[in-house]
Structure formats: structure tokens, C-alpha cells
């Protein structure tokens, strides 16, 4: 195993770690975005709450989620460590350095952009993830009429002990669900403009971080060829640095103005 540790500690090995954890986080963003698009359903949050309950109870997703937390921490710690080490490779700085003549701003500021995202992830997870798992999120009962599809909601009083899963029964011609109401937390939380502003700014940081990060991850793995590098850059620009941050930024803005 010595050779593996040595490899991963080399300058190239460390980039591979950044690349693989980064690409894993990119794949998570796709799932997270698709799931969160349920917020735009006009159903008092039923689809979103069902999705949230599924994501926190499915055993396979639980395993992947621990891998995800580890990746976030590893990517952040290794990234900051690399910024520090790379900084040491130039102890005396240039008095005049025209970086914009040879490289994109985002590529030179991945450490700052990443730190902004780390702060955002901490705020985001304490607001919703921690609240949902350990906080006192009330349950809501949804009754969907099997005939008309009409949805009636009922808040279950706080303090009532319920399992942290979907209660799902069919009775009296109605499909009844009882789920933790994360939708309400989201819709109330995003009425606060400082939080909305933080989210929108963080999505700018995400956009610039991924504009460089996505295609850079492939280069670190040695994947750079005229046949497909154009496609990698295209996906990095349009999907990861425009569509994904736009979709995420639209969510707080939607709740703020609705």
C-alpha cells in the first residue's frame, strides 16, 4: 500500500483526489437539482416532501450520502491544503502580475470560490439538513382525493411522535400521506432576504467554480483529446456553470417573490 499512499501524495496524485471527489460532487448536484425541482410542483409540497423522506430513509442513499459528506470534507480540506502548498512554491510574489493575459479569473481563484461554497454548504446544511434530521420539523398530513386529485393538507401538532418515514394509506377514497414538512421550512426560510441573497451569490460562486472545475477534473485525470475535449468544455459551461446554478438560484427567488 506504500506505493498508493506515495502516489496519492504526489503533486499529480493530489490532483487526482481533487478531480475524483469533485466529479462525484458534480454528479450529486445533478440528483440534488432534479430532486429539488419538485419544489416548483403546485401541490403544497407533497412531491418535495415525499422526495425528502425517500432521500433520508432509503438505505442505499444513506450509504451514498456518507460518501458524499466525506467527499465534501476531503475536497475542501485537500483543496485548502493545496492552495497553501502551492502558495509556498512562490515565497516572493510579483510586484506586477498580469494574470488575465494568460488565464481565466475563475481558474486562478478556485480556493476563494471553494471557500465561499464551503461556508454556503455549512449554512445550507444547518438550515435544512440538520433541521430535518435533528430539529423539530412539524409533520403534515396530505389527503389526495383518488377521484379528483384534489389535495387537502392538515398540520399535525408539534410534539406528536411519528416515524421519520412516509405514512401512506388509502382510506375513504383518499390517498393519505403523513410526512415531515420540509417544504414549509423551505418556503418560510426563503422569505428572509439575507438568506436569499446568500443563496444567489453562492450560486455565482458555484458557477465560476464549475466553469473551471468540471473540465479541469478531466485534464487532471489525463483526459484531454481534440476528439472530446470540446464536448467536456461544452458540458462544463452550459450544464454545470449555467443551467445548474440557475436552477438552484431560482428556488430561493421563487419562494421570496411568491
Amino acid at each position: 500500500m506504500n506505493w498508493l499512499i506515495k502516489t496519492l501524495n504526489s503533486s499529480i496524485g493530489q490532483k487526482v483526489i481533487m478531480s475524483l471527489t469533485g466529479l462525484f460532487l458534480c454528479s450529486f448536484l445533478i440528483i440534488h437539482m432534479i430532486g429539488n425541482l419538485q419544489l416548483f410542483h403546485d401541490d403544497y409540497g407533497l412531491a418535495f416532501n415525499k422526495y425528502a423522506a425517500f432521500m433520508t430513509t432509503n438505505p442505499l442513499i444513506k450509504v451514498v450520502s456518507y460518501l458524499l459528506y466525506a467527499s465534501i470534507l476531503f475536497h475542501a480540506i485537500k483543496g485548502l491544503h493545496l492552495v497553501y502548498k502551492n502558495n509556498q512554491a512562490r515565497p516572493v510574489k510579483y510586484a506586477v502580475n498580469n494574470g488575465k493575459a494568460n488565464s481565466h479569473w475563475s481558474s486562478r481563484n478556485m480556493g476563494i470560490l471553494g471557500t465561499m461554497l464551503l461556508v454556503f454548504i455549512a449554512v445550507h446544511m444547518s438550515d435544512f439538513w440538520y433541521e430535518y434530521k435533528f430539529g423539530d420539523v412539524p409533520h403534515t398530513q396530505y389527503a389526495v382525493s383518488l377521484e379528483t386529485g384534489e389535495i387537502m393538507t392538515d398540520t399535525i401538532p408539534a410534539g406528536m411522535k411519528l416515524h421519520n418515514k412516509i405514512e401512506d394509506v388509502i382510506a375513504n377514497g383518499k390517498h393519505i400521506y403523513v410526512v415531515k414538512d420540509l417544504y414549509k421550512e423551505v418556503s418560510v426560510g426563503f422569505k428572509e432576504w439575507p438568506l436569499v441573497l446568500l443563496y444567489v451569490l453562492s450560486m455565482f460562486a458555484l458557477s465560476f467554480h464549475l466553469y473551471h472545475g468540471f473540465s479541469s477534473a478531466f485534464q487532471s485525470l489525463g483526459i484531454n483529446h481534440s476528439k472530446y475535449s470540446g464536448l467536456i468544455r461544452f458540458i462544463g459551461l452550459w450544464f454545470f456553470s449555467i443551467i445548474i446554478p440557475l436552477a438552484f438560484a431560482a428556488m430561493p427567488v421563487y419562494f421570496f417573490i411568491s
Binding site: S10, S11, K85, Q88, R90, A95, A101, S103, S220, L221
Partner: protein, 253 residues
């Protein structure tokens, strides 16, 4: 002569490696637009010698035709100055305007310590080459060249990498002072050709290990190295270096 320019130079002066160093300002009147950047320094140095007040400015140079890799200089925030694809000796004063203030600094990297003024010690590159940037050839008669057929495209790609003159502009431009474009070019030129195959895996490992030991930073794919390279070596050589190194570590002995 008409068309001559008055230039203000802010030059980094440093007595030796341990000196802290500082900028000095020099007025250089009557600079011909047809002079190279280094010739302007020659004119200034001749004046400094004649005046006898200051020692002349030390800077590296040799062939002055853009092929030896000896000249350096970080000019107005860019290695080898404002033009793409040329070394400082091939940079002419017509690229500047009358009255310009030009800031000239040495390459800055922990692995390139300043020897004096604008001259830096690039022997870290030599040690990387000693570690693996060679092929072993048995003595005796050279074999017939046609015994080793090499496709035109491969030959061109290897040649493109082999145009690296080892000037260090890649390290100077990189925000991490990374030497990956240099090492990538050297590893590529051998990895692509049949003569480089026997030591291929060992070479990638040894050169990367030496690169890390010299204190160069890690690559973050900004692309600044390739953009500033006087020989315009592409970033694909770094991708190949990554493949060669990882392949050697995971599949080699």
C-alpha cells in the same frame, strides 16, 4: 534618430540570493524601436559601467535568436513580455510606446532562487532532466533509420513537445510555480517515440518525483503556462504526463 523612444525601467536589483532586493528606476532615452529588449539592457548596462556608480544589471542571455532558452525576464506582469510565442531576446522595443514605464522582475519561484538581479538559478530543471529526461543508447553503429518507422502525426506531436527550450516561462507564469508543462513536454517527446519506450515508466516516475522534491507547486490547469510558452507547447502534454505517471504507478513495477 526620429522615432526613438524614452523608456522608464523599474528593474529588480538584488545583490545575491540572500539579499532582500528592491526595485530601481532607470531612465533610458533614445531607445530605437528596432532594438531587442535585451539590447536595450545592453545600452543601459554600458551606461552604468561608464558612469561607474552602479554595477551593471545581471540578466541571463545566450543565443539571442529565441532557441537556447537562456533569456527570461517577467516584463509588465508577463514572462517574456507582452507578445505571444516569443522569448525576451526576440521581443522588440516596437512593442512598446514612447514614455512607457516597464516593470522587469526575475522569474519568481522557490525552485528558481535569484542568483543576482534578474538572473535565476534554473538548475532544478537540469536535475529533473538528470532524473529521467534521457534515453539509453548502446554504442556501436547507428542502425538504419528505416528500421524504426514512425508515423508522421506521431513524429509531429513528439516534435511539438520537443520544441521546449526549458526557459522556465511556464513556471514563472503559473500561479502555483508548477513545472508540469516543462516535465510534460519532456516526458511526451520520449513517450511518443520508440526510442523512449524502454525507460518510459521509470522516466515518468523519476521526473515527477524530482519535480516534487524541487519544490514546484501542483498544476491547477489554469493554462497560463501554455499561453505564455514561447514555443506554444499545448496543455495536452500535461494530460499525457498525468496518464504516464498514473499508468506507471498503477501498472508499472
Amino acid at each position: 534618430m526620429s522615432g526613438n523612444m524614452n523608456i522608464t525601467l523599474k528593474v529588480w536589483r538584488q545583490k545575491n540570493t540572500s539579499d532582500k532586493g528592491r526595485f530601481e528606476t532607470y531612465q533610458v532615452p533614445g531607445v530605437s524601436p528596432d532594438m531587442s529588449f535585451l539590447e536595450m539592457f545592453d545600452v543601459l548596462n554600458e551606461r552604468l559601467v561608464a558612469e561607474g556608480k552602479e554595477v551593471p544589471i545581471a540578466f541571463d542571455h545566450d543565443c539571442r535568436e529565441g532557441i537556447c532558452g537562456m533569456c527570461s525576464l517577467f516584463i509588465n506582469g508577463r514572462p517574456h513580455g507582452p507578445n505571444d510565442g516569443v522569448t525576451t531576446c526576440q521581443l522588440h522595443m516596437r512593442s512598446f510606446k514612447d514614455g512607457d514605464v516597464i516593470v522587469v522582475e526575475p522569474w519568481r519561484a522557490a525552485a528558481f532562487p535569484v542568483i543576482k538581479d534578474l538572473a535565476v538559478d534554473r538548475s532544478s530543471f537540469d536535475r529533473i532532466m538528470s532524473a529521467g529526461g534521457f534515453i539509453s543508447v548502446n554504442t556501436g553503429n547507428a542502425q538504419d533509420a528505416n528500421n524504426l518507422p514512425i508515423g508522421k502525426e506521431i513524429a509531429d506531436e513528439a516534435f511539438e513537445a520537443a520544441t521546449c527550450i526549458g526557459c522556465g516561462a511556464c513556471v514563472a507564469a503559473c500561479k502555483n510555480s508548477s513545472a508540469m508543462l516543462f516535465v510534460g513536454a519532456k516526458v511526451s517527446q520520449f513517450a511518443l517515440l520508440p526510442q523512449g519506450q524502454p525507460e518510459r515508466k521509470q522516466r515518468a516516475l523519476a521526473m515527477v518525483n524530482q519535480m516534487d522534491a524541487e519544490g514546484f507547486g501542483a498544476c491547477t490547469n489554469t493554462g497560463a503556462c501554455s499561453a505564455e510558452c514561447p514555443k506554444e507547447i499545448p496543455l495536452t502534454v500535461i494530460a499525457r504526463l498525468n496518464r504516464e505517471y498514473l499508468g506507471a504507478e498503477f501498472c508499472g513495477k
